[in-house]
């Protein structure tokens, strides 16, 4: 049976290193992040523009009745930062439907140090409890600083009933999850029926740490590691999840953040080589870069968009990678990757010797 009711699009965003450019490698970084005011918080270039474009209702419809798009933020930041983070999102024109923050202070007061460090149980639990039943497409946005690719894919498989309880238990133990968190999550999963209407369509991983992209092959084609949000926008445009005017807007936002046309051309070429984008989509991008900027008085495309458009007229790279087809994520190998790719922070000045 077919239905005209559009599937709900549920966007799940991580905050730190995905939406906000946050440093938390040292105690000093953590303190500075905690004390920053809303207007001092730096965004990852293009993130607000992309999210605003994703939340626009499709042409010819309105959200007067049931909304067709929702956004949930799930962050590892402490709950005490809710006011400043909500204010930051408000400044950016984003009003999340749900905003989940981590109970770090209560974990600290109860000496649950593992729970403070661990993201797997916390994020998985938050994803499961905030999901919307029914015909829903989820698009998840995270980064490579934590284990977002693993968590998001595991979530996608859990809601479809593709991961057994013993398997989940094993994964949580491997991740050194706090015992009570583990028990709580296993109970939550046991009480959750599989949801065949829910589909995790895409997982975007912002490569804040510039991790090797092959690391994400094991999660299959739906997981797209990206160097910037322009790359994600291009893939989403290919998936028909963004309106035509979104790409020029994101290009303009990145241009204002100091991006050069060369960096964006390199980003397109990278996606072409990695097999996420083809000639047709690049041609679509070129056509849309010639459109006037929506929401402005400017009738012509900007100089930056025109330069980029011209640069993209050159032949595309010949190398095209065939993306690996993964029927089932190998979580044993994925857990081993966490240790394998855990890199000590390089003291660059010392290494370079001057």
């Amino acid at each position: 049976m077919t239905t005209d009711t559009p599937r709900l699009l549920h966007y799940r965003w991580d905050l730190d290193k995905t939406y906000l450019r946050t440093e938390f490698d040292t105690t000093k970084d953590l303190v500075r992040t905690f004390l920053q005011k809303a207007e001092e918080k730096e965004i990852v270039p293009g993130a607000p523009t992309l999210l605003r474009a994703l939340l626009e209702p499709p042409l010819g419809t309105s959200d007067a009745g049931e909304p067709t798009r929702r956004v949930t933020f799930i962050s590892g930041s402490p709950r005490q930062m809710r006011r400043v983070l909500t204010e930051k999102l408000r400044i950016d024109g984003i009003e999340p439907d749900q905003f989940i923050l981590k109970p770090n202070l209560s974990n600290l007061l109860r000496f649950r140090f593992r729970a403070i460090r661990s993201q797997l149980a916390y994020k998985l639990g938050a994803l499961l409890t905030t999901r919307i039943p029914g015909e829903v497409d989820e698009i998840l946005f995270g980064d490579d600083a934590e284990q977002d690719a693993l968590i998001y894919n595991l979530y996608g498989d859990l809601v479809l009933g593709r991961v057994s309880a013993p398997r989940l238990d094993w994964i949580l133990r491997q991740a050194h999850t706090d015992r009570s968190d583990r028990r709580q999550l296993l109970d939550l999963v046991a009480g959750t029926e599989s949801d065949p209407g829910l589909r995790v369509r895409r997982v975007f991983i912002h490569l804040a740490r510039r991790s090797p992209t092959r690391r994400f092959d094991r999660f299959g084609q739906r997981t797209v590691p990206v160097f910037n949000w322009f790359q994600a926008a291009l893939v989403l445009r290919g998936d028909d999840l963004l309106p035509a005017h979104a790409l020029p807007l994101i290009v303009s936002a990145l241009g204002q953040q100091g991006y050069t046309a060369d960096r964006l051309v390199n980003s397109v070429h990278d996606l072409v080589r990695r097999g996420f984008v083809d000639e047709t989509l690049v041609e679509t991008l070129r056509e849309e870069l010639a459109l006037p900027m929506p929401g402005t008085d400017v009738e012509e495309p900007g100089v930056f968009a025109t330069t980029l458009r011209q640069r993209l007229a050159a032949p595309l790279p010949r190398t095209r990678r065939t993306l690996p087809v993964i029927d089932e994520v190998d979580y044993t190998a994925a857990m081993a990757d966490i240790e394998r790719y855990r890199r000590p922070r390089l003291d660059l000045a010392e290494w370079l010797g001057r």
Binding site: P212, D262, N266, P317, W351, G353, R354
Partner: protein, 329 residues
């Protein structure tokens, strides 16, 4: 100021290329922008396993099978580009065939950067320059004079030395016994009081490490001998220290001096201050020896960027040549 584009030919198998690993790391951590030439498919495949920043790494398909020639052509047609490459034997011929030589002599000079006792310039830089160390065997007197000007321009732009000191390397023999080229260069330099550097005269090899001269000019044969001797001296000192550790009392002494020894090692380790600039063309070119590791490559990328930025913000090598030759067009 736009980022200079660092062009790096990836010669040989990309998967094991030190240059590629270093460029990948530098793209992600040093805010540097690269264009790699070579086998596009192999380079891309290797990059999938390396931390890198794809925004700052472009790959050029190498149509004629020679990454170095492709890199030189790219540098020749891109004003904002600098070349960093391994010291391939073909570099000098390929550069001569592709790039525009600066006015004032067609002989290029390969320069070695070396630490000295005396520091110089606005940045208290301990490094001085020796050139030529192998690019132009059989250099004439005019060529040596051109080397002096190019070395001085480098010292002024890179080490920020306002009035660099320049000397000709020579043994302590009467002037009439000096080689003809050296004698001619000495006569020209000594009779040019308004040169944009201070000419110190002839300098014996035992005073090079003192650092009284910011630029030491010599022919390719003597430059090569001098630089190799300096490098072997550093290696010998390192090995002597290792031997000293074999005896308990010496080991104790060495461990007490460890902080100072590490600083000396760091100063003497050529990988810390990058490769050898090839001077004489209107583009920045820096080469590295085949044994160079990732650190040497990363430092050379920084050196090339600095050289490019300073050469473009201050007077260009071409301007300096014009200043030397007021009649030049």
């Amino acid at each position: 100021m736009p980022h200079p584009l660092l062009v790096v030919p990836i010669v040989g198998p990309a998967a094991s290329s030190v240059a590629l690993k270093a460029a990948a790391l530098a793209s992600a951590q040093l805010d540097l922008t690269f264009r790699l030439t070579g086998d596009e498919r192999a380079i891309h495949d290797a990059l999938l396993d390396l931390p890198h920043d794809a925004e700052r790494l472009a790959i050029d398909e190498d149509d004629d099978g020679d990454p170095l020639t492709a890199a030189l052509r790219l540098v020749a047609r891109t004003p904002d580009a600098a070349l960093v490459c391994g010291g391939e034997r073909t570099l000098l011929d390929a550069a001569r065939a592709t790039l525009t030589p600066l006015p004032g002599g067609n002989a290029p000079a390969l320069a070695a950067i070396h630490p000295t006792l005396r520091h110089r310039g606005r940045h208290d830089d301990p490094f001085a320059l020796i050139l030529d160390i192998g690019a132009s065997p059989g250099a004439s007197g005019d060529d040596l004079v051109a080397f002096a000007h190019r070395g001085a321009a480098w010292a002024r732009d890179i080490a920020r030395t306002d009035l660099p000191t320049v000397a000709l390397l020579a043994s302590q023999v009467p002037d009439e016994h000096l080689p003809a080229a050296l004698r001619a260069a000495h006569a020209t330099l000594a009779s040019t009081p308004d040169a944009p550097f201070q000419y110190l005269g002839l300098l014996a090899a035992d005073r090079v490490l003192e650092g009284s001269a910011d630029v030491v000019v010599c022919d390719a044969l003597h430059g090569d001998l001098l630089v190799r001797t300096l490098h072997s001296f550093a290696t010998c000192a390192d090995q002597l220290l290792d031997r000293a550790r074999a005896r308990f009392q010496w080991r104790l002494g060495v461990s007490m001096l460890l902080g100072g020894i590490d600083r000396l090692r760091s100063l003497a380790d050529w990988e810390n201050y990058g490769g050898a600039p090839l001077l004489g063309y209107d583009r920045v070119i820096v080469t590295l020896p085949p044994e160079a590791g990732e650190r040497a490559w990363a430092n050379t990328f920084r050196l090339a960027r600095r050289a490019h930025l300073r050469a473009t913000t201050g007077p260009s090598p071409r301007d300096i040549e014009r200043e030397r030759e007021p009649d030049a067009p």
